[in-house]
């Protein structure tokens, strides 16, 4: 039994603002069928897919047990089916654990989220908080992230101009990614003139409402050749949950991200992410989070986010060449979209945005207000 887990295949639909004309089941089927075709994997209960990890959210799907709505579609009858109800990157980590523990050889991962289905993404994230102290005062991920943005910009010398640069670059990179949401290029002036949503967060600092679905097939090392000649290996994983109440936390310390990195770097043997990782994808749902998360993973110095942007840090370290979450991926799947970019880059299939000789990628995902829960996945060629 080998000690590595491979991603053998990946299929996605394009990130779109509003897939009103297709149910999420149809979006998932558009991902599943190419995976079956690419790999020839079956649902044979000895040799095929015996366990399926899904990622979805009850509130965004407007139903309880949201995975129930896709059991048929992903072929989960008479076998294991388990749901991740937070960033799907944890589902990939869980699928990896299913294989490393020897319980499964082959695991299918399927995730979907149609943010457009709900009238208000902020109403949905308000429900992430308790009904006693936080929901009644209207806390949601947007206004809580605004607390983080204010504190972080102050700490790290990040200005409104810096954030505008982050948004402009995100949209430019996304224009080279055929599966990215067509959010459109913007100028610095567009960003600086965009209205405030929750100061200091402006409209263009916030990721736009997005619908997406994606699937991946994972398999143990010894059987990988049955499914692909070009596997991408998962070599590191870590996650960590910070405290619940925002008043208990240091919102800018990246506490849980640093812990997640410790675990993932230790597992993958990464000493210094600046030199040891070729492609970096961070779930920057809000523009200020790009430099902040870069600090958290050890790419930028503590409190140096502003300088990091000024010195061209994001481009130098190949950060978010996909366009990042900021250009548009749905909540729940931000981290998976990061892993998808890593997978594409390591396979050498990234076209105009290909990083030459990319050997190792880092994918980051986060769940909760102000990055409460953080996840890091390391991929290698």
């Amino acid at each position: 039994m080998g000690n590595r887990v491979a991603i053998c295949a990946m299929a996605q639909v394009k990130n779109e603002p509003n897939v009103w004309y297709q149910r999420f089941q149809g979006m998932l089927l558009d991902c599943l069928e190419p995976i079956l075709q690419q790999t020839g994997v079956t649902y044979d209960t000895d040799k095929g897919i015996r366990n399926i990890v899904t990622c979805s959210d009850d509130v965004f799907d407007a139903r309880t047990i949201s995975d129930n709505g896709m059991t048929d579609v992903v072929g989960a009858h008479f076998r294991g089916e388990e749901k991740t109800a937070q960033d799907g990157l944890n589902g990939l980590g869980y699928a990896m654990a299913c294989i490393l523990s020897g319980h499964d050889d082959v695991v299918l991962f399927m995730g979907h989220c149609k943010e457009s289905q709900t009238e208000s993404r902020n109403m949905s994230t308000n429900l992430a908080y308790d009904p006693f102290f936080c929901r009644p005062v209207g806390m949601d991920f947007l206004n809580v992230n605004a607390f983080q943005a204010r504190a972080y910009m102050e700490k790290a010398g990040v200005t409104d101009e810096h954030l505008a640069e982050v948004v402009v670059r995100s949209r430019e990179n996304a224009a080279m990614n055929p599966f990215a949401r067509e959010s459109g290029k913007v100028t610095k002036e567009d960003v600086l003139n965009s209205p405030f949503l929750a100061d200091p967060i402006r409209e263009l600092h916030a990721y736009p409402v997005t619908d997406w679905a994606v699937g991946m097939l994972l398999c143990c090392e010894e059987r990988v050749k049955e499914f692909t000649d070009n596997p991408v290996w998962i070599t590191g994983f870590g996650n960590c949950m910070d405290r619940y109440f925002v008043g208990d936390r240091d919102l800018t310390s990246n506490f849980s991200l640093k812990k997640a990195c410790e675990k993932a770097y230790g597992m993958a043997g990464i000493k210094d992410p600046k030199s040891d990782v070729d492609v970096i994808e961070l779930s920057d749902a809000y523009a200020h989070q790009l430099p902040m998360l870069a600090e958290g993973i050890g790419l930028a110095g503590e409190g140096q986010g502003g300088k990091w942007i000024e010195s061209g840090g994001p481009a130098k370290a190949n950060v978010n060449l996909s366009g990042g979450m900021l250009n548009g991926n749905p909540i729940m799947l931000g981290g998976v979209a990061r892993a998808v970019e890593g997978y594409i880059q390591l396979r050498g299939e990234a076209g105009d945005r290909q990083v030459d000789g990319a050997k190792r990628a880092l994918a980051h995902g986060t769940t909760g207000g102000a990055c409460q829960h953080q996840t890091v996945l390391i991929l290698e060629k």
Binding site: V13, K14, E16, V19, W20, Y21, Q22, V59, A62, S120, N122, M123, N126, P131, F132, F133, C134, R135, P136, V137, G138, M139, D140, L142, N143, A146, F147, R150, A151, P195, F196, L197, A198, D199, P200, I201, R243, F245, V246, G247, D248, L251
Partner: protein, 153 residues
């Protein structure tokens, strides 16, 4: 729109997830909320090991893992703003009409800030360090909104 997608017979049905609930607030949460409602007084819970006073209260100190549920202390109805945003969007889950200030407020005598609304100031005058004071609601809603908002002290 996906290229070439045939939208013949594609129809959107309106729906809603809405289900009224009652949630037990826990003994600690209950006492905190009913004291605000009945006595117009805000209480915290102190960990005698690390000396931190938590607001909102909780029954275990997550650092020391001490059971602190009985260590009630009065905190002041006044405090200072440690962080804030101006909410400029309207939505059904929000307690006030935009624009308004949502702040993290560290009450005098507490170590952990509480999130609440600040009213009665010009939006561009809001700042960190600002002194504020609780304004209690005239009519109870049996929620944390029995503190209606905070106002400059």
């Amino acid at each position: 729109m996906k290229e070439g997608f045939d939208t013949t017979d594609c129809f959107l049905v309106d729906g809603k997830l809405a289900l009224p609930y009652t949630y037990f607030a826990g003994r600690v949460g209950s006492k905190f909320l009913t004291t605000i409602r009945d006595e117009k007084k805000i209480m915290g819970i102190k960990c005698n090991k690390c000396n931190k006073v938590f607001v909102p209260p909780r029954q275990t100190c997550d650092v020391c893992m001490e059971d602190i549920r009985d260590n009630w202390v009065d905190v002041q109805n006044t405090g200072k703003v440690t962080n804030f945003t101006v909410v400029r969007y309207d939505d059904k889950h929000l307690p006030k009409k935009a624009p308004y200030v949502l702040a993290m407020i560290q009450l005098d005598g507490a170590d952990t800030p509480l999130v609440h609304v600040v009213e009665g100031i010009d939006l561009d005058k809001a700042k960190i360090g600002m002194k504020v004071q609780a304004v209690f609601a005239k009519e109870t809603t049996n929620t944390i909104l029995d503190i209606d908002h905070f106002a400059p002290a």
